[in-house]
């Protein structure tokens, strides 16, 4: 019974968890690690997580797991800076000419890189709102912060993102 419920929740939320982790961390392998860890945590807490609140629970746990991983990544002494992974598989790939795909991928990677530079909690709020389509109230519930703060942080996060992109363009 518990396993059945767990399977349903995994089926429903796996892509959302992975998508958040990927755009937050910018690395596919780490996104996989986090997704696995988050889903295992869901299993450990399957008796206490209500199906209706599982989405918010998972968003919060995923965000925390990503944040922890990022901190541990930063604390590790790295000999060189790793680049971002190539793009992960899309859920649905539309047909498009190669040049347009290349342009789209370049733009996407620019945004992914810029997103990785946006500080917390702005990054989380931008991802939840703009990439994952959460409503303000859902973000407020997930992040446990007032609605107006969510809006303010979202706007600030997007402004930071624009600044990052402008900076990247000026370097290019």
């Amino acid at each position: 019974m518990m396993l059945h419920r767990f399977r349903d929740l995994v089926e429903e939320h796996q892509h959302r968890v992975f998508t958040f982790a990927y755009y937050y961390l910018g690395r596919r392998e780490e996104a996989e690690d986090v997704t696995q860890e988050v889903l295992l945590r869901l299993w450990r807490h399957i008796e206490s997580v209500e199906p209706d609140s599982a989405g918010a629970w998972l968003a919060r746990v995923t965000r925390n797991a990503c944040y922890d991983l990022l901190r541990s990544r930063r604390s590790r002494k790295r000999l060189f800076r790793q680049g971002l992974d190539g793009p992960a598989e899309r859920v649905a790939d539309g047909a498009a000419d190669t040049e347009a795909v290349a342009r789209g991928q370049e733009a996407r990677q620019q945004i992914e890189r810029a997103l990785a530079e946006v500080a917390e909690p702005y990054r989380t709020i931008v991802i939840l709102r703009e990439l994952q389509g959460y409503k303000y109230q859902e973000i407020s519930d997930t992040m446990e912060m007032p609605l107006n703060t969510v809006k303010t942080y979202l706007h600030r996060g997007r402004r930071m993102l624009r600044e990052q992109l402008t900076e990247a363009e000026s370097y290019a």
């Binding site: 396993l3 767990f6 998508t19 780490e30 996989e32 690690d33 541990s72 649905a92 990439l131």
Partner: protein
């Protein structure tokens, strides 16, 4: 008399405007200011473009191996009496502080199985039988076949071990299988690598 609105005020309001959440007076100001100020007009364009680009970033597909491993773990735990306590949920990451990826089939499963098979085989061959046992002596052909099996087991353990960094394979060979290797006359430096 209110102060004249400036570019910095425009900056404060532009994101709400893009979201369609500005009050009417603020929206009027943003439109009017953007019409009059080229820099802020450009800012408005960029703000809109960014939101459009962000919303076009595709949702990603979680690799099936990730969920397969998790579901396999959950199913195994159900067989063992339910989810493990939350305190045991963290799995040490290979870099420390993070997490280690599970695989649907544990990486060391086959190696351990092979090691166990080799150890079992060697034990079966080497442990002295009681004098009353009617077990027939092993023929030369059987012994050669057993040696070949063990060589294959070592090779397999080595191959899997190298994939996982080699350390555990070395330990296994040194601590568990070296006596077997010695008993069968296989050289210690012949460790499968």
């Amino acid at each position: 008399m209110p102060e004249p609105r400036t570019c910095s005020q425009f900056q404060e309001l532009v994101e709400s405007f893009v979201d369609g959440e500005s009050a009417a007076a603020e929206a009027d100001f943003v439109r009017a200011h953007a019409a009059a100020c080229a820099t802020c007009r450009e800012e408005l364009v960029r703000a809109r473009e960014l939101v459009r680009e962000l919303r076009r970033l595709p949702p990603l597909s979680c690799p099936p191996r990730v969920t397969a491993a998790v579901l396999a773990r959950a199913a195994a735990e159900v067989g063992e009496g339910g989810p493990a306590p939350a305190a045991a949920r963290r799995i040490p990451h290979r870099f420390g502080g993070g997490w280690r990826r599970l695989s649907a089939a544990p990486a060391w499963g086959p190696a351990l199985a092979a090691a166990a098979a080799a150890a079992f085989l060697s034990a079966a061959l080497l442990i002295p039988r009681p004098a009353t046992s009617p077990t027939p002596a092993m023929t030369a052909a059987e012994l050669a076949e057993a040696q070949q099996e063990i060589k294959l087991a070592f090779a397999y353990i080595g191959r899997v071990g190298r994939q996982a960094g080699g350390r555990v394979a070395d330990e296994m060979v040194d601590q568990v299988l070296a006596p077997t290797r010695q008993a069968f006359g296989l050289p210690p430096e012949g460790r499968a690598r």
